[in-house]
């Protein structure tokens, strides 16, 4: 690598990569060009941006990430099996941002379910063509712009009208780099009218070399459809993750999201849900347990656009060591969205004097006949409960774990999929050092 490249900023490298690779990238060149221009104009967010004021990704990016991608080590079928939380899922593997068909499910998918390379789908599949980049607005966030300009791989998942897919689909992301790299997979998920499915996204990193994954998923939940969408974020200290989900929920549809973060040096989740059809419903659950010097930032936006809808949000955090977390939850109720029920709650336990949390619930309500509430609490371990447990013979360390586990269970118990729920319990136990 030349010294000239070394001296270039990540922004310059990305824009240069864009110019070089544009002819070979899938989809509309004009869309990409406009996204690149958007990014060129704004650059990466800085601390002065309201949405990035507590945790500055610019500082994270200064750790140094490049555009060259080389694997730290080969991923095997055994790795894939080991990293699958659910035995009977259809697993699709994304290594360093690139879909790897050879390691992915190769059998026959059930009727009504399509999972394929996004690069192929935007050319050949009418639904992919129709919805690609429909929801993610490059002007809204530079990370959306970069992804839209430069995404070169990812998955398209389609559930046909009236199809109920019982077994979960699993997008398994693995970052494993030889040189520190900036990765940007791109997904599109479309659940057509009356369709039902479960999507599990997991994020893992292997090896000591830094990665920054800027993943973007657009999610379309059509009328009367139901989608359960899980994100399990368990990267190691070299992993940096910015995960944007841009979802659109239509009439009578149900969209459930579950975001579990137990690892990664830096995790930023931008979860934006448009409630766009009457009697639609969305549930947003989150649990984060950062330790060491980890940073976890959850930004959620629930945008109630129409009347008679419901949203419910519960995020909980357990903060260890020097970790830092942000919860910024915005509920936006538009003028027409009468009879909206929107609830939000964020609760945190600080287990260390050096850990910190910034929590900011925001309600913006422009309709007058609504039921909305939000609440937030941050505290330490309940000493009275701890004493009670100890007077029954339970050791202090164990009593603390019991209480943390009890605190987390409220979120874990919201997971309807039993095997997955047990897996998540294991992740939490591992984090707490009980297994």
């Amino acid at each position: 690598m030349s010294t000239a490249t070394q001296a270039m900023t990540l922004k310059e490298q990305l824009l240069e990569k864009f110019e070089t690779e544009l002819p070979s990238l899938f989809g509309e060149a004009a869309l990409r060009r406009s996204a690149a221009q958007q990014f060129e104009a704004t650059g990466f967010p800085t601390r002065k941006w309201e949405d990035y004021k507590y945790i500055n990704p610019d500082a994270v990016l200064k750790k140094g990430f490049g555009t060259r991608i080389a694997a730290f080590r080969d991923i095997t079928a055994e790795d894939v099996a080991e990293l699958s939380p659910v035995k009977d899922a259809y697993v699709f593997v994304i290594i360093n941002g690139h879909f790897v068909p050879d390691l992915s499910f190769s059998g026959e998918l059930p009727d009504g379910l399509t999972v394929e390379s996004i690069a192929d789908a935007v050319v050949s599949d009418p639904a992919a063509k129709a919805h690609y980049a429909e929801l993610a607005d490059s002007a809204a966030d530079p990370f959306i712009a970069i992804n839209t300009a430069l995404a070169d791989s990812g998955l398209f998942m389609h559930i046909a009208q009236d199809s109920v897919i019982e077994r979960p689909v699993h997008f398994l992301h693995i970052a494993t780099n030889e040189v520190s790299a900036f990765l940007q997979p791109r997904h599109l998920v479309v659940a057509e009218t009356n369709a039902q499915a479960i999507l599990i996204e997991t994020f893992e990193s292997i090896g000591p070399v830094r990665s920054f994954t800027n993943v973007l998923a657009e999610v379309v939940v059509a009328d009367n459809a139901k989608l359960d969408h899980y994100r399990l974020q368990t990267e190691n200290e070299a992993g940096h993750l910015l995960s944007t989900v841009q979802a659109h929920v239509s009439a009578n549809a149900l969209y459930n999201t579950y975001t579990f973060t137990t690892g990664g040096a830096f995790v930023r989740n931008n979860l934006n849900v448009e409630i766009a059809g009457e009697h639609a419903e969305a549930h947003l659950y989150g649990l984060y347990l950062p330790s060491g010097n980890s940073v976890v930032d959850n930004h959620t936006l629930v945008d109630h656009q129409v009347p008679n809808c419901m949203s419910n949000e519960l995020y909980k955090g357990v903060m260890y060591d020097h970790s830092q977390a942000v919860f910024n939850g915005k509920i936006y109720v538009q003028r027409d969205a009468q009879k909206t029920n929107a609830f939000q709650n964020n609760k945190n336990i600080l287990l260390s004097d050096d850990a910190s949390i910034n929590t900011k619930p925001q309600l913006e309500i422009y309709a007058d006949d609504v039921k909305c509430s939000h609440g937030t609490s941050t505290g330490r371990m309940d000493e009275e409960a701890l004493f009670y447990l100890r007077t029954r013979g339970i050791g202090e360390d164990n009593a603390r774990k019991l209480l943390v586990n009890a605190f987390a269970e409220e979120v874990v118990n919201a997971v309807p999929h039993e095997e997955l729920r047990n897996y998540i319990d294991t992740l939490i136990a591992r984090r707490m050092g009980t297994v």
């Binding site: 004493f387 100890r390 007077t391 013979g393 339970i394 050791g395 586990n405």
Partner: protein, 253 residues
């Protein structure tokens, strides 16, 4: 069983116990009565090892061990049990999981392996009957959403499960109606044995109609100022505490 000598304890710099002496032998039931603020609950808390209380003087020997030197969990493992005046609600921890963890922690301390699941469940079933506790409550979170009476019955249920050598009941009768009181007292009476002792802390004589003590002590001003047979409780009920205070003041003066 337990021998308390010249115990002094303070909370936030204020001395509450001021030279308390008490000796309880195996199988005995001692009632500790006294007006509000006399130090009854402080005594219970200090014995259980609550950290807000500072012992400034005195000794407590529990079956030959220095109790004050033990952590709250080790006191429990040595066979001490405190039934709380205000049992704590712990959302998310099921009663069953809590008890299993507690029993196995105590067994481990004694060098025993964990209890078999079926033995444990049989024990739960048997002991629930003792306090007429609904089986459904056992599956719920610890004390969460329990009525006052259910919380107190749950305390006695836990005591029955953990089979302590010494149980301290801290105003277990407070907030109980007469039916609940009878159930709780019956539970306690069934657990009385020649090897097990009780310290029953109470404000009212009423509880002692059901749990008949061997000795009644009057605590006032951080000290036991009078001890007597069970009839003393009746006398206190009738005459109040003022005569005791006057007597104690005369002695002190």
């Amino acid at each position: 069983m337990i021998s308390i000598n010249n115990l002094h304890a303070s909370v936030e710099g204020k001395e509450i116990l001021r030279g308390l002496n008490l000796e309880v032998k195996p199988g005995e039931v001692h009632a500790i009565m006294g007006p509000n603020g006399s130090g009854k609950s402080t005594l219970a808390s200090v014995l259980a090892g609550r950290e807000d209380y500072e012992v400034t003087q005195g000794t407590v020997s529990f079956n030959g061990k220095d109790l004050l030197d033990l952590s709250p969990e080790d006191r429990a493992r040595e066979g001490l049990f405190l039934a709380f005046q205000y049992p704590v609600e712990i959302p998310g921890v099921s009663n069953i999981n809590f008890l299993k963890t507690a029993i196995n922690a105590i067994r481990e301390y004694k060098g025993e392996g964990p209890m078999e699941a079926k033995d444990f469940l049989a024990l739960v079933k048997e002991k629930q009957k003792l306090v007429e506790l609904d089986g459904k409550l056992a599956g719920r979170s610890v004390n969460e959403g329990f009525s006052g009476g259910e919380k107190k019955r749950n305390e006695i249920f836990q005591m029955a499960m953990l089979e302590p050598k010494l149980a301290i009941l801290d105003e277990t009768d407070s907030g109980l109606d007469i039916d609940a009181l009878r159930i709780v007292a019956n539970g306690v009476n069934k657990l009385r044995s020649p090897e097990r002792s009780f310290i029953v802390v109470t404000h009212y004589q009423r509880l002692l109609d059901y749990i008949v003590p061997d000795v009644v002590h009057v605590l006032w001003n951080g000290r036991i100022v009078k001890s007597g047979p069970k009839e003393l409780a009746l006398e206190l009920e009738e005459k109040g505490y003022d005569w005791i205070k006057a007597e104690a003041n005369t002695v002190e003066a």
